[in-house]
Symmetry: C2
Subunit: 308 residues, 2 copies
């Protein structure tokens, strides 16, 4: 029996460097949540205890636990094999791994990630985002393009819960690398960046005209030629990188097309940038709450996957 | 009078971190050369003396000196305004800046770089490469696409010495950044890289199917999915980046086309990689000797620009 009878299940979004854990009631509400920096890397060698700490912090005992994210990678607790696109998101829990070494009384599963190959046979992978997508599906968003922006921005095309396409864009990581090192960082000249909406829009519009390895150099060229202030390089680079994602996805998506609506699962700050970029291209996003989606996914698993 | 009567002019390719200086005879041969790490950054505040040291090392006194490269940038000795594409390479010396503060008896000019805007109005710039191109022109290579590979790979389309297009690709810099930091470096797993020709070819072939910010992630995805050994990530990344340049240039070059021959000015090692990449795309490069081109450019200026 759960010590707190309201809580039916716990979900943990356990990433590389951070984790969030949610105590979820029988009607799918989030009763309590915690967030800490006990990511998969930090928990090496002490995963059972690390999970127990989270459950105690949530004041939960004896419920099932659903784990998602890098906790299921080679760097995590147990490596769970990826599933491929033959498994729709609503069936993910059937492919979960039961954790054999959780603390006594804890019944936990790890949700698998996806490995999806494109038309050229090149693979792409995700871990954690599949559970967000299951949540979107449970909330009624079952088809179309979804973007989960971040360090590694994931673009996923779903058709009734089936993953049709998966593409990772290293937008956040490239932004971070280029802002700290090399020519682009030097072009900023140590000046404090200001959020220049015009420069952001110019970056979005310029994106995709040529290869990114060329266009990134235009950050420097525009400053050298006095087309842009050094303080605006950050906004322009952000526009270039986000615009590149949008145009690359649009290019191969005749069905979705410029009239289509995309769905975004992410933080309000990133959502605002993507929304602005989309508007410059005549597109719009439905913004879905990332936490609500994760909670809905775990609730769906609780209702539908009896063995847990 | 020159102390060594054979030497008629000196050329210095003065980059950000390195420089090469050549003593050139009246018939255009290179009599002596030096190479050191007294690049423009290192010489701040002591350019006159730094030039004198080079001339003494070459045992040259009283000749004219042609300087090219970042020595003419805001970080250099004197900032020389860029010329635009209305000035053909064979007329560059007419737009050179005479150095007002060289050591007594030294008559030196700095060759300007180019600023060229593309069809969208976005600028690109080069300093130093224009002198290599003048040399190629002087050696009879006057039209077509030229690539000068390196940290910032320059692609230049010339038509009878006029710069039609200029595009910088940050190939070398991105290769260096991604090999040292972040997800791609981690995918290499600290394993010593081997030069895997098959992985290089796969990178070249994959390039251009999607935006580079997506394709770079495939380095990790391929390793995670065991499509590629960790030791091959370097070769695959190199293939992706070089292939991206080639395909991006081909895409907008109907006139040059896949049947065309490109000209490459660069080191033998980089030339070999570009030649291999080109072969995978059914293209070929004429390889021009970068030193011979620079020497030919300075000799051309000596013969044609009387005031020096």
């Amino acid at each position: 029996m759960a010590a707190n009878p309201l809580v039916s299940i716990v979900g943990v979004d356990w990433g590389t460097t951070h984790r969030r854990a949610y105590a979820i009631t029988g009607d799918g509400a989030c009763a309590r949540e915690i967030s800490d920096s006990d990511g998969a890397l930090a928990c090496k060698g002490r995963f059972p205890a690390a999970l127990d700490v989270a459950l105690q912090a949530l004041d939960v005992h004896g419920t099932g636990v659903v784990l998602a994210g890098m906790v299921g990678s080679a760097l995590g607790w147990h490596e769970v094999p990826y599933v491929d696109s033959s498994v729709p998101v609503q069936d993910l829990a059937a492919h979960a791994m039961r954790v054999p070494d959780a603390a006594p009384g804890v019944s936990a599963i790890i949700i698998p990630g996806y490995r999806v190959r494109n038309a050229q046979g090149v693979p792409d992978v995700m871990r954690g985002e599949e559970t967000q997508l299951l949540g979107a599906w449970a909330l009624g968003h079952r088809s179309g393009w979804f973007v989960l922006p971040g360090t590694h921005s994931k673009w996923v095309e779903l058709h009734e819960g089936r993953v049709v396409q998966l593409r990772t864009y290293m937008t956040g990581e490239l932004f971070d690398l280029l802002s700290k090192h090399g020519t682009v960082a030097a072009a900023a000249g140590g000046v404090a960046p200001v959020w220049d909406e015009t420069a952001f829009a110019e970056g979005v519009k310029a994106a995709g005209h040529h290869a990114l390895s060329h266009q990134i150099f235009s950050v420097r060229a525009r400053v050298v030629c006095k087309d842009m202030a050094a303080s605006s390089t950050t906004a322009y680079l952000s526009g270039l990188l986000i615009g590149t994602e949008l145009k690359d996805v649009l290019q191969g998506s005749a069905g979705t097309g410029p009239q289509g609506t995309f769905k975004l699962l992410g933080s309000p700050q990133l959502a605002a940038h993507y929304q602005t970029a989309a508007q410059h291209l005549g597109l719009s996003f439905d913004i879905l709450d990332a936490k609500a989606a994760f909670v809905a996914a775990v609730h769906h698993i609780h209702l539908n996957w009896k063995p847990l």
